[in-house]
């Protein structure tokens, strides 16, 4: 009872999936369904034409030596004409289905991409990149997969109806036989479809497992070889690959039962048809042509039935995949909150943080955060991993909202600044130095307009100008897969130039110089001090970095544990322990 109910909801949700696609692509779907029905009509018509050719051409010509040329050419015309119409129907169905399916995917994908761009940063932090990419790739393909056999399925229902009417016109007894055969075929298809689902999924899983094992084994090839573990690895792979074999053989066994049976059923029907048909022919209530036509009709049934079976087989999978996509599409993009109008006039600004509190869901991340940075000061932010340093970067960069408290710039709350002033005033260089597969210029400008001289100046401050200048195309050089690859330090310096190019008044470096040589890092900070008025916060994991700062904000256990110079903070045992650890684990090479 419960299961039946669940099946019904699956079916209903399946149809709502198809309906959504029809509403998105009504034209393509209509033409495809029309094509499918045209195909069915022509397929049935062709069996009629064969019957006509038998009665009016073949039998008179071969048995009675009374060939009518008119009938011969008429039947030729019909055979080729109906054949062409059938082909046309199949073409329309196939071609416009592609438009319907891929067009639906196009729209769903666009909606998904818009969400990816518009949902707040907290959304991205709560999902893995792999998951988001899977929605755009695999989930999308599976969600739209059930659309492919849809038009054919409609055509199949149409085919069943006209085939029955056609047979009824030929003889009620033959129609009765079809009434037994059709449901039997449909029923077998349904059982087959249902049974194959779980072993087919088991194959996929086994393939995935083996693939993961092989990957792991080659990743650890040094260990495997140097410790002589090859035999164990081979055993591991054999065991896992044997699962693939086992499940594939299981699938094979099901196919071996059902496919020959589904094929044999119409043949058995034809044999009974011949027995009854010849008796009817003898009685004079059926012509040989009509018998031939009925035989041909029985022969074309298996294939469409199978397609319809597959449609119902695919539907639940597609529904589940679309659910996953919908879980993103249903999220509300945030309202752009009321923007302030304040502008900043002073060349150098102070930054103060007042009684800040941040929750991620129910989890308290930061509380009682209070400190002030004077204009032009360089402050290092120090604290153990996971203490919330990157959260502060997000708050200042406007990627997160605090639960409580304020961030003031020169005494003005950050949210009363105009959007433009805010973007111009604050720049954050993030922990992961992400570069787009684009030119260096575009990577620095990111759609903003800057003079070459401004970009060059930023590159110079970031100590990467000499490197860029030596590239064959200078700042027009393309980065990434199809262009030059950079070292970690070079990447970080380019992203630093990106942050610097708009001459921000507040710069937050979230551990974004970790791969830069300490001596170069020192030069960068000296440049910032001498050439700009920037107020700088830098998340530091190296003692050398800490020593370059005027003061240190020490975070511990989600709170500010001290704001002072490095020397003074060394009196705190927790701070000393942390710095000692940096001391020992720092790497030089």
């Amino acid at each position: 009872m419960q299961r039946k109910k669940q099946k019904q909801t699956h079916l209903r949700r399946g149809f709502s999936l198809v309906w959504r696609s029809i509403r998105l692509r009504p034209g393509s779907h209509t033409v495809a369904i029309t094509g499918a029905c045209l195909f069915s009509l022509a397929a049935v018509a062709l069996t009629r034409v064969l019957g006509y050719a038998t009665d009016d051409v073949i039998i008179p010509a071969l048995d009675n030596d009374a060939l009518s040329h008119k009938a011969l050419w008429t039947s030729l015309l019909f055979i080729i004409g109906v054949g062409l119409i059938r082909g046309l129907g199949a073409f329309l169905r196939r071609y416009f289905l592609a438009g319907a399916r891929y067009g639906t995917e196009l729209i769903w994908r666009r909606q998904l991409f818009n969400k990816y761009l518009d949902l707040p940063m907290t959304f991205h932090r709560s999902r893995s990149a792999g998951e988001l990419l899977a929605h755009a790739d695999n989930d999308m393909i599976i969600a739209s997969l059930a659309l492919m056999p849809f038009a054919f399925t409609v055509g199949t229902f149409f085919l069943a109806i006209i085939a029955l009417i056609n047979l009824l016109l030929i003889h009620p007894l033959i129609a009765l036989m079809a009434l037994i055969l059709f449901p039997l075929l449909a029923w077998m298809n349904q059982i087959y479809s249902r049974k194959i689902v779980s072993p087919a999924a088991a194959v996929q899983e086994a393939v995935g497992n083996t693939s993961a094992l092989v990957h792991e084994s080659f990743d650890g090839i040094m260990v495997v070889k140097s410790l002589g573990r090859s035999d164990q690895e081979i055993q591991r792979i054999r065991k896992s690959a044997n699962q693939i074999r086992k499940h594939r053989v299981d699938v094979g066994k099901l196919r071996a039962i059902f496919e020959p049976a589904i094929f044999a059923l119409p043949s058995i029907g034809v044999i009974f048809l011949l027995m009854i048909g010849t008796w009817l022919v003898d009685k004079g209530s059926l012509s040989i042509g009509e018998l031939v036509s009925a035989i041909a009709l029985f022969g074309i049934l298996a294939f469409p039935m199978r397609i319809a079976g597959i449609f119902f087989e695919e539907l639940p999978r597609s529904v589940v995949a679309l659910d996953r996509i919908d879980s993103i599409l249903e999220l509300q993009s945030p309202q752009t909150h009321s923007q302030g109008k304040e502008e900043l006039k002073t060349p150098s600004v102070s930054l103060s943080i007042e009684d800040l509190q941040v929750h991620h869901g129910d989890h308290l991340v930061l509380e009682n955060i209070d400190f002030e940075i004077t204009a032009g000061e360089i402050v290092a932010l120090v604290g153990p991993t996971g203490v919330g340093k990157s959260t502060i970067a997000d708050l200042i960069g406007g990627l997160q909202e605090p639960t409580k408290g304020r961030i003031l710039i020169d005494g003005t709350p950050i949210e009363s600044l105009s959007a433009k002033a805010r973007k111009q005033c604050i720049a954050v260089a993030f922990q992961e130095s992400f570069l787009f597969a684009d030119t260096i210029r575009e990577n620095i400008a990111l759609g903003r307009r800057f003079l070459d001289s401004e970009i060059e100046e930023a590159l110079k401050i970031a100590q990467v100008f000499d490197f860029v200048q030596k590239l064959p195309n200078g700042i027009e050089e393309t980065l990434g897969e199809r262009g030059v690859t950079l070292s970690g330090g070079q990447r970080q310096r380019i992203t630093l130039a990106r942050a610097l190019v708009g001459s921000p008044k507040i710069l937050f470096l979230d551990d974004s110089t970790s791969s830069v040589d300490p001596l170069i890092e020192k030069k960068i900070l000296e440049n910032l001090r001498q050439k700009t008025n920037v107020t700088l916060m830098i998340v530091a994991h190296r003692l050398s970095t800490i020593k370059l700062a005027d003061r240190v904000v020490f975070l511990n256990e989600g709170k500010v544990a001290g704001v002072d110079t490095h020397t003074e903070l060394m009196k705190l045992p927790a701070y000393t322990a942390l710095v000692k650890a940096y001391d020992n684990t720092g790497t030089a090479i």
Partner: protein, 617 residues
């Protein structure tokens, strides 16, 4: 009347499973054409499983094919003999022939099931064995063949390339066997009825082969464009997702949005365009099928009486035509898949041609217990392509000392220690360990007496016990606990949820890098090696683990020769001997106190490191 395999293959097309209409992806991009027979011969040699009972397989295929012919023959028999206008209805004949046909269909169905089971079993066993054979071979290759750049390709050989073969085996291979038999059988029966009409059929069908081939070719090319477009879209989304913070804080949304839209549109257009060729196949096949039936009706009606053709034969002929078209269509569709599968098969087989460079000795020497001295003379090493990675390395390391190997990335220091574990053999020169040439040392002995602790502390997706115990086969849980205990790591085990039975996850990712190295140290302790090689982690290790690592290493290195690839110069500072590598050569050798005053490479490295880390000391 379509065969069930055609049903199966056409369904794939109808449901949009592009795998059947396009070629599988080939990572290295080449779509080489290799002579089918060459591949087949080589393949049969590598996989003898394929040959087992080939005669039975063909016999079974014959029986299955006869199922397709039963109905047209029955129709002919009944129309010509059971229901003639002259003699009226011969019900006895009709019933007996129908019962024979029924029995035949049942026999065919049963045989077909057995055939199918048999083919799948043979194919899957072959594929399993081939996979293991290739994987084993890859395992035996030297380090030189396991370069980072080639890892993806090697992995693909054992995963996706084999999967391509498996998918082909499930459909294409079976199609080739059974379809050829059906086509030959149908043509034979046709020729018995009327050779003239058979010629008509062949004449009309012949042009379909080049047309199908041309469509296939186009489809192949277009689907390649689709794949490119899909990866472009995925590349763009991946940027949009990975760069989420950058995009937001720099207000870069609109540019990214329009890039995504362009990629999305291109993908859509190419998908529809590629699908056009698939759609085109249907009218082509239908036209030919209609033309053939029309041709038979015309030729048969006009010239039938002179050829002595009966109406039953003629009608059977029409049905035989429909039997014929299904396997032709199917072979047309598998043609391209076959080429790709053959190319894939060849690629997989080619792996077996990569020579195994590290030959294990027979009756090798067993290394003695205790600390081992090392001597390296005139050693050179290079990969098959490219220049020397190591050149003219000479060094003597006395037994029981602590050696630090330092140098910049790419200086050859890591390659050097890999040669000491015989992950590859030197191109020139010798390595002597414990007084014996390394290549004469027996495999087992080498694996236990030389232990390496890898940089990232790679662990297998098993429990800690499993990861440790394999260093000395037959070790019990107690032995593993003892190994941890003797390194002073009992307390660390106690912090784990399930102690030594904790699962470490893929690559050991549930533990931190430092913790993974602790496990590797315990593994080394259990093996009780005479030579210990440690590749220090480059990434930061949390302070607590760092302390544990240093003290565990101190205990472990007692009474052994230890070589550390040092990324922290504090390690070098503590060692007995330092080897400084630069551009593949040893440029400085000595103790810290000597080298630091030399004003050489080591002194520079040390200064930079001091500036980087040291506080008020």
């Amino acid at each position: 009347m379509k065969s069930e395999r055609q049903v199966q293959q056409s369904t794939r097309g109808e449901i949009g499973d592009e795998r059947t209409t396009t070629s599988q992806k080939d990572e290295d991009g080449e779509h080489q054409k290799t002579a089918a027979l060459t591949v087949l011969r080589r393949g049969l040699k590598v996989s003898p499983e394929l040959r087992s009972g080939a005669a039975i397989t063909i016999l079974m295929a014959l029986i299955v094919a006869s199922g397709s012919l039963a109905i047209p023959i029955l129709i002919q028999q009944i129309l010509d003999k059971g229901l003639t206008s002259t003699n009226g209805l011969d019900s006895g004949f009709i019933y007996s022939s129908c019962i024979i046909a029924l029995a035949l269909i049942v026999i065919v169905t049963v045989t077909q099931r057995a055939t199918y089971n048999r083919l799948v079993k043979i194919a899957e066993t072959t594929i399993l064995e081939l996979r293991i054979r290739v994987f084993s071979h890859l395992q035996r290759l030297s380090l030189a063949d396991h370069l980072e750049a080639r890892k993806g390709i090697l992995t693909a050989r054992v995963t996706s390339d084999i999967e391509t073969l498996s998918q082909f085996a499930q459909w294409g291979a079976i199609a080739w066997i059974i379809d050829s038999v059906i086509i030959l059988g149908t043509l034979t029966v046709m020729a018995i009825y009327s050779w003239q009409l058979t010629l008509v059929v062949i004449a009309i069908y012949l042009p379909i082969i080049p047309i199908l081939k041309a469509i296939q070719r186009q489809q192949f090319l277009k689907y390649r464009e689709v794949r490119d477009a899909v990866s472009e879209t995925m590349g763009q989304v991946s940027e949009a997702v990975m760069a989420a913070p950058v995009i937001r804080s720099y207000g870069y949304q609109e540019t990214v949005r329009s890039k995504l839209e362009t990629a999305n549109q291109t993908q859509f257009k190419r998908q529809v365009k590629a699908h056009k060729f698939f759609a085109l196949l249907a009218p082509v096949m239908d036209t030919f099928s209609a033309m053939t039936i029309g041709g038979i009706v015309v030729v048969g009606s006009l010239f039938g009486p002179e050829m002595g053709l009966s109406s039953g034969e003629m009608i059977a002929f029409v049905f035989l035509t429909t039997v014929l078209i299904a396997p032709i269509w199917e072979l047309g569709e598998v043609l391209d898949q076959t080429q790709t599968a053959l190319a894939g098969w060849w690629k997989v087989l080619s792996v077996l041609d990569i020579p195994i460079e590290v030959e294990e000795p027979t009756n090798g020497i067993t290394l003695p217990n205790g600390a081992l001295p090392i001597e390296v003379n005139d050693l050179y090493f290079n990969y098959r392509t490219g220049g020397n990675v190591l050149k003219n390395i000479n060094c003597v390391i006395p037994a029981g000392i602590n050696v630090a190997v330092v140098g910049a990335t790419g200086s050859g220091k890591t390659t050097f220690v890999k040669l000491l574990t015989r992950l590859a053999d030197p191109t020139e020169g010798t390595i002597t360990i414990g007084g014996f040439a390394l290549h004469d040392v027996e495999t087992e002995s080498r694996h236990t007496t030389i232990q390496m602790v890898p940089q990232d502390g790679f662990l297998f997706n098993e429990t800690i016990t499993d990861n440790v115990a394999f260093a000395r086969p037959g070790s019990s849980d107690a032995d593993v606990e003892k190994a941890f205990d003797s390194l002073g790591l009992q307390w660390w085990l106690e912090t784990l949820p399930q102690g030594i039975h904790t699962h470490v996850g893929p690559r050991g990712e549930r533990l931190s890098v430092g913790e993974r190295q602790l496990v590797a140290l315990a593994r080394a302790q259990l093996a009780n090696p005479g030579l210990l090689i440690l590749d220090e982690a480059t990434s930061a290790v949390d302070p607590e683990t760092e302390v544990a690592l240093v003290s565990a290493l101190d205990r472990l290195s007692e009474g052994r020769t230890t070589i550390s690839v040092a990324h922290r110069l504090s390690t070098a500072e503590r060692s007995d001997l330092i080897l400084v590598f630069n551009e593949g050569a040893i440029v400085e050798t000595g103790h810290h106190s000597e080298l630091v005053n030399n004003e050489g490479i080591y002194a520079t490295l040390f200064d930079s490191w001091l500036g980087n880390t040291q506080s008020e000391k």
